[in-house]
Symmetry: D3
Subunit: 284 residues, 6 copies
Amino acid sequence: MALSRFPKFKFFNVTVPAQYVVQVEINRPEKLNAFFAPMWFELKGIFDVLSHDPEVRCILLSGAGDRAFTAGLDVEQAAKADNPFSSNFPDPSRKATVLRRHIFELQEVISAIARCEKPVIALLHGYTYGLGIDLSSACDLRFCTSDTKFCVKEVDIGLAADVGTLSRLPKVVGGVTSWVKDVCLSARPFSAEEALKNNFVSQVVDGGKAEVIQEGVKYAKYLSSKSPVAVQGTKNILDAAWGRTVEDNLNYTAVWNAAMVQSTDVQRAMLSGLQKRTPTFEKL
Amino acid sequence: MALSRFPKFKFFNVTVPAQYVVQVEINRPEKLNAFFAPMWFELKGIFDVLSHDPEVRCILLSGAGDRAFTAGLDVEQAAKADNPFSSNFPDPSRKATVLRRHIFELQEVISAIARCEKPVIALLHGYTYGLGIDLSSACDLRFCTSDTKFCVKEVDIGLAADVGTLSRLPKVVGGVTSWVKDVCLSARPFSAEEALKNNFVSQVVDGGKAEVIQEGVKYAKYLSSKSPVAVQGTKNILDAAWGRTVEDNLNYTAVWNAAMVQSTDVQRAMLSGLQKRTPTFEKL
Amino acid sequence: MALSRFPKFKFFNVTVPAQYVVQVEINRPEKLNAFFAPMWFELKGIFDVLSHDPEVRCILLSGAGDRAFTAGLDVEQAAKADNPFSSNFPDPSRKATVLRRHIFELQEVISAIARCEKPVIALLHGYTYGLGIDLSSACDLRFCTSDTKFCVKEVDIGLAADVGTLSRLPKVVGGVTSWVKDVCLSARPFSAEEALKNNFVSQVVDGGKAEVIQEGVKYAKYLSSKSPVAVQGTKNILDAAWGRTVEDNLNYTAVWNAAMVQSTDVQRAMLSGLQKRTPTFEKL
Amino acid sequence: MALSRFPKFKFFNVTVPAQYVVQVEINRPEKLNAFFAPMWFELKGIFDVLSHDPEVRCILLSGAGDRAFTAGLDVEQAAKADNPFSSNFPDPSRKATVLRRHIFELQEVISAIARCEKPVIALLHGYTYGLGIDLSSACDLRFCTSDTKFCVKEVDIGLAADVGTLSRLPKVVGGVTSWVKDVCLSARPFSAEEALKNNFVSQVVDGGKAEVIQEGVKYAKYLSSKSPVAVQGTKNILDAAWGRTVEDNLNYTAVWNAAMVQSTDVQRAMLSGLQKRTPTFEKL
Amino acid sequence: MALSRFPKFKFFNVTVPAQYVVQVEINRPEKLNAFFAPMWFELKGIFDVLSHDPEVRCILLSGAGDRAFTAGLDVEQAAKADNPFSSNFPDPSRKATVLRRHIFELQEVISAIARCEKPVIALLHGYTYGLGIDLSSACDLRFCTSDTKFCVKEVDIGLAADVGTLSRLPKVVGGVTSWVKDVCLSARPFSAEEALKNNFVSQVVDGGKAEVIQEGVKYAKYLSSKSPVAVQGTKNILDAAWGRTVEDNLNYTAVWNAAMVQSTDVQRAMLSGLQKRTPTFEKL
Amino acid sequence: MALSRFPKFKFFNVTVPAQYVVQVEINRPEKLNAFFAPMWFELKGIFDVLSHDPEVRCILLSGAGDRAFTAGLDVEQAAKADNPFSSNFPDPSRKATVLRRHIFELQEVISAIARCEKPVIALLHGYTYGLGIDLSSACDLRFCTSDTKFCVKEVDIGLAADVGTLSRLPKVVGGVTSWVKDVCLSARPFSAEEALKNNFVSQVVDGGKAEVIQEGVKYAKYLSSKSPVAVQGTKNILDAAWGRTVEDNLNYTAVWNAAMVQSTDVQRAMLSGLQKRTPTFEKL
């Protein structure tokens, strides 16, 4: 699809590779797609819009260039001049207040992905470091090339990861396993194969970045052919399973579905099943 | 064991393949063991009784015939005449109320398995679709033949799974992993091998249905030779671990065991251990 | 390091194999390192001190002798004379009260390891039975030799494990999986390979006990070279992920880091990174 | 209303004092409405039916005779012959199992009132002891005569209240206050005035039992004139507020109302408001 | 203070009646300060800014004109032309999706007040209906005139309150009391006196609107003279108490204060106390 | 009772005013019973012992001298020489770590009272400031003289209360009410009458300190005449109600009572009731 109906963004390419599928590409390849302040806010805005856009049923998140999904925070930029944290504070508690607000702000960007109503698939290649783990942990699925290099890098810059990795990695790979502790405490890089074995990615695609994008588009098209009421409800209810009891989750599911099974999708899906046709569904 | 002390059920064969072991077989093979209304209530009744029956220490849940554990909901029956959901409702909120009650009712059937005091082992073969996942996720262990075909089918009929899969699958395989999202969002079938790799089943038994039943009976006999106080307490406490904190679970465990270690089982088990004899335990 | 600055303990050898690294060795090899009353209290005292000792950044927990990490409770001792539980109680509720207090007391010992601010690595070999699972589940990482023999043994002595295994094993391997239910309900032994496959241990070290210790020391030295603010914060936040919602955990993380990123570690780590030097960090 | 469309129950009078209003009267006045086994099951059955009956919008729970709402458990009956708890058990853990099942069974009766979709108002007079507190704490509102005598009696029969009072009284009066601890620990009787002051009852009606019934019917008729979608949703959401976070409750509320504001009630209520007419609503 | 440093808002007057004190006045008196779409977004923007403004230590929320704090939603506007909910939807589940998004959007406005870092005091007079309860329940304190008329109005327009009242009123008055159920289920108006008796407002000020504003300003000045680190921390920690365990809240408190007691406020406050002087504190 | 069987403590008088009743008196009247380091540890030790002592059924906590229960922290001592917090730290994060440990340590002292198995009644008179609120909020009941002066003092020394008040006051008075926010944010003193009206104390005793002690002893004797199994179980279960759901609490209650109703107390209590005799109970 040559033209996108989306506006131009400064640091992200937003395109429509197939009907109902949107690809968001982090676009700062000359810096390994490392993040600095203005990128964050663009990213949140994009996902807030896609979440409610009825033309969108599945989102792909990828990185421009051959070398990285994202190398993480742009440390040079972070160290620069107008950094509010280098300024003088009357005391550590006041500095803590400003830092806490700043962390919340960044967490909200990542949470915009996690809260997006449509499934989001991270398509990973090359360096996927630090923030790259935060971002992809907030996605629903992760595909990667065999040469992807992962690293929960934060310990190496002297801090505990604070914008989502430590909260979402246990949810995404299942518990606070030996492996989660290992990669988070040591900040050691790990390979695609190790990511697959530990259930962080759901597939390692043969070939390079082009192939993983292709596979992502194919999967996204497949998901987009399904009932959007069913797909988006499934995402929402699964995410509510973590940190809550089975009993509370069952009750929540019943309340959710009491409205959502009143869709035309159920009839269409059943009928198409019996007639061996591909159903089409109204927008959502 | 030729004769069962259990009554005849219409849609389930309830037999006693070994002392303390009960096998519940879904018995509608001509319809791939698909479920329709009267089956649900029979099933709940059976598990409510087995839960408290002191002659029962382990339960096997399997499907009759060669082709399926269960193909899930009987969609044809569900689409039929006297379906309360086809009737007219004054407005969507009133329809939602009736639907919510109906979902709760079905959830209660599945929860009767999950709450059963005795360990329940699902023995799977052939089609294990939709409701087959709800049912087996509510069991404690899952064994399957190598030709079992799994599918979280609900998205394909236009709805989010609502009688237990989305609440229990994350508990049972560990978190809301890439794999859980993949199979729940896409409704794609998956194999026994994949189920094993992702910790949904604990073993794939070589051979066919007869072999998995045999293996199930063998395992159930083994569990039934253990202290029932120990086995049933272990099940109860493990299930409480999900969605609650370690601190709360430790406290609960201590309160539970304060009563339960006052059994005669502890002495018998220890003594038998020292004397290299097989202990016997009182009923529970 | 020949001399330890730690006092002599009766049942534990506490040594310093490398700077910032402390090894706690269970030292009752003639009894397969089985535990009895006086050992518990020593162990709690040791971990309470190490948790706050600024000279300590990583702790190794291992067992003396060639045959066992620990075979678990010393059943013979437990069965002996002055056992308070053999005394007469006016009624089962009063006995339950004394038992409950006793279970809490033992849980507190295991929890002292889990709550220790520094990462703790269990180095396992030989018999790792019963209490050995409780102890190692409370550690952050588990390495083992290929001949380690694991067993959640409690069902075999007639009780549900009550000092931590049932609460922490699901956290550590991810959920209440088929495998967790299998090994906890059946009390069947399992191998190092199985432990690795199910994410209970993060590596099986080639060779024997000497090699796993060597690997542990190497890993501990590596962790100790990292920012202790970052490492200890990561441990704390990850442990809070279990049984709580992502939203609560994100908020907790922000509050934690608002203080903790005000360390000198961040500057030192970043600068060293740019200068390709190894940073050193203040004690913590 | 002279005739009831409800069947005759042995221990309860179920009548219809006004359209949409049902009164359930505990009817064993010769024993101060004290409960014994067969009454429990009748009570559960009644509330399960009323919960879903579209002709019912508000339920009153009261006690027959002049002397008591209920004096609680019928201790004489409980002490009698065929009591399963006087039988011999092999050990205290097996007795505990049977007791636990029995407590769950009784809790389920009380919970049937708490889970009833329609608002339930307890109309109290005379002795409201023990079980009387369990029952009325499970209701939504409590009105009483000025001579009502309350008592959380269980401590006086040697046990902690276990069918609901200790779980629901804090919810109903707000926290584990000095007053809650006082009346629960001491088992001292308290007056209507004290119940009002501590927010247990919402009004003390002047006069005797007839007046409190009259007031209850009046209030129930008033509630029944309101939108049943609005009233029943309000009850459900308020009950979910206890023991959960504001954030979780807000999300649950939005999911609930997404279906429930699609009623015809909203238009009818608004229009009637503008036209100063009394709206009528479809059944629910 | 004659001039405000705040911009002009269309529906709110934002003024600075005293140092560190900001008053936000709902300004649509000709419509009893009833809310319609554009007002919501202005309100959220205002509180988001005030939350972080270091010149602000306490916020007052009041209503312009003599007759109302706010009469709630502007039902006429809500019923008007371009209402997205009157448009056609393919099915009730798609309408539910749009409604759910809309409810979340409105909840976020109210939550902006609840999450505001600075204490917010609602100053109430006249009609305080529907949304007026949602707004004031999200504040920290509520003062009112003796002629304030309160009403949880939503049931009267056919729906369960869904932007905060049902989640926050139980938190604010303590539990799901008889009184909370009464006023929420019946939508009956209640008086200032009743609001005081049930702990919804902390004082009823003698006189009219002018007096309650005066009292509010006086209290706000008093709070603003205290350490802002202490005041804002107290607000944050108290709000975290609801729906979480004491143990979790204690841990959170310790982590919070580890940073926040490193303020200069502690020294200044202590020294001023000893010297009987009024301390001044750095901005926050 | 002239002689106590308890050892002499330096800062506390521990006496036995009646059978089964122990009075712990804070004994530093010359400093208004203000706390400094050595007192904390003594206090924890005392409550840990009393919690398990079978001769103890009820505990009274009071302050020596005429002027104060306790004026709170001894600020002069806290400001003194060897204060670890005045020493130099490499950075605020390391100082935060030491502070966090210190706060946990003090919290554990207060929690020792809250966790004490026996009911604890705070008997308050004179200054009950700061720590006095933390201590008494951890008790089960609070009685006071009419001249007691209360104050949540911490805001006035520049910090949020961090050893328990903010976590337990909402539990104890019911929610995060207007009143809780008012007294915690403003640090304004409040009277006995206000404490009673807001459900913080359960009675204001006429007369002075002697009378409140007398009333406390009388109440404690009364509680001690009841079944200790029933009283201690009631305390435990009620405390678990806060921050957890009704469903979880009901389950916990059933598990607790399955052991605890197997006491001899039930028979004795019932029989004594029928025979109008005062029962005696075994120690616990």
